[in-house]
Subunit: 223 residues, 2 copies
């Protein structure tokens, strides 16, 4: 038997914040919005908003609603990065939680538009964004968490879906991985790890000419 009781303790403010990331000119970028309203009006921050328990059916639904309101877009590949909660994170409440989501997208397949309470949107290189002390809230830190989480997946070769083409040569896969990681990978180690994970398979009979090099085998992910 369970009884419904009145809440005994004060609860924190709960927000959802979305770190939308994409490769742009060979480097990982994150989408920031210029805030129209306080707190932090006139500053850049992650698109996000306060959880609405009267409207949201889950935390992920809240993240999707917020992305639709702020960016007028339906996000693919939404992944939860984690939750952060501390006193002093939000001037509207003594204690605030952010549930952070990330989505790694292909810019060619997604377009965003400033929505409710967003004056403008801006793609910023992640290294610059995570070190920017002028962002709203502690969003520089949340961006750091989202970037580290996406990079961990790529480093572990659990390639996040959505930002990779259907098929690719191993050189192309390595170049995309390096762009997300922001650092070069050793070709021999990369290929040995690809082999060991048994994740990709050759597409029978498909080769691709590669400039001065001999044609390279085309691969795809195993089903």
């Amino acid at each position: 038997m369970t009884r419904r009781q009145p809440p005994k303790y004060d609860m924190p403010l709960v927000r959802v914040d979305v770190s939308l990331m994409a490769l742009h000119e060979g480097a990982l970028h994150v989408l920031l919005g210029l805030r129209e309203e306080p707190p932090f009006a006139g500053q850049l921050g992650l698109p996000g908003g306060v959880l609405r328990i009267d409207r949201d059916a889950s935390l992920e639904a809240a993240a999707r609603r917020v992305a639709e309101e702020r960016l007028l877009v339906s996000l693919p590949n939404l992944e939860q990065v984690g939750a952060v909660g501390e006193p002093g994170r939000d001037p509207r409440s003594p204690w605030a939680i952010s549930i952070v989501y990330r989505s790694l997208v292909d810019l060619a397949r997604l377009s965003v538009t400033p929505g409710k309470r967003v004056a403008a949107l801006q793609w910023v290189p992640v290294e610059r964004a995570r070190r920017n002390r002028d962002l709203a809230f502690d969003h520089a830190r949340l961006i750091g968490m989202a970037v580290d989480s996406a990079r961990r997946e790529v480093r572990d070769m659990n390639f996040p879906l959505g930002w990779l083409p259907e098929s690719f040569t191993l050189s192309e896969l390595q170049a995309l991985s390096e762009a997300v990681l922001g650092e070069p990978l050793d070709k021999v180690t990369f290929r040995r790890r690809i082999d060991a994970r048994e994740q990709v398979e050759p597409v029978e009979g498909q080769m691709r000419a590669g400039g001065a090099h001999r044609p390279a085998q085309v691969y795809r992910f195993r089903r």
Copy 2:
């Protein structure tokens, strides 16, 4: 400039729940507590409790406080698994969030004791726990998340610290991995992946006799 405003919206109840896991007789187990108080008094559930914004300095601090209260233990290797939030999860509130933490421990190095509001503690095989429909709240599902998260790390060979000995033979490392995963691993693939990740290094001159087999090289994680 930012202004402090009264909260506009009702906030959810926020709990932290801890999935403490360990190998026992070659299988992964999770620690469940018999609840002394409602809701779900007399049922088994994860050790956990309501976030106290007047006492907790962070979500992780809340998880540590709860573990200390319920299990009279200071937990090593606490990792956040993620946050779950939905209507109907807790009879005390229309909408409730759980921030789920996990800790993979070595039973030989940790002992737990029933604390506040816990009538008894019980180690249960994870496969049984995650399918048990009689657990408190939706804890069977939270256990599933924690188990999947620990297994993903082991599968990616990001071995969680704390449950592995300082040094080991590759056969021992494989056996421990298999116990966490609950399934056998192919020896050749396992060794190829260990080599490719370049995580472990031989301990110079240390070999270990292995029953009928020839002595095996002893390894440790690289610093």
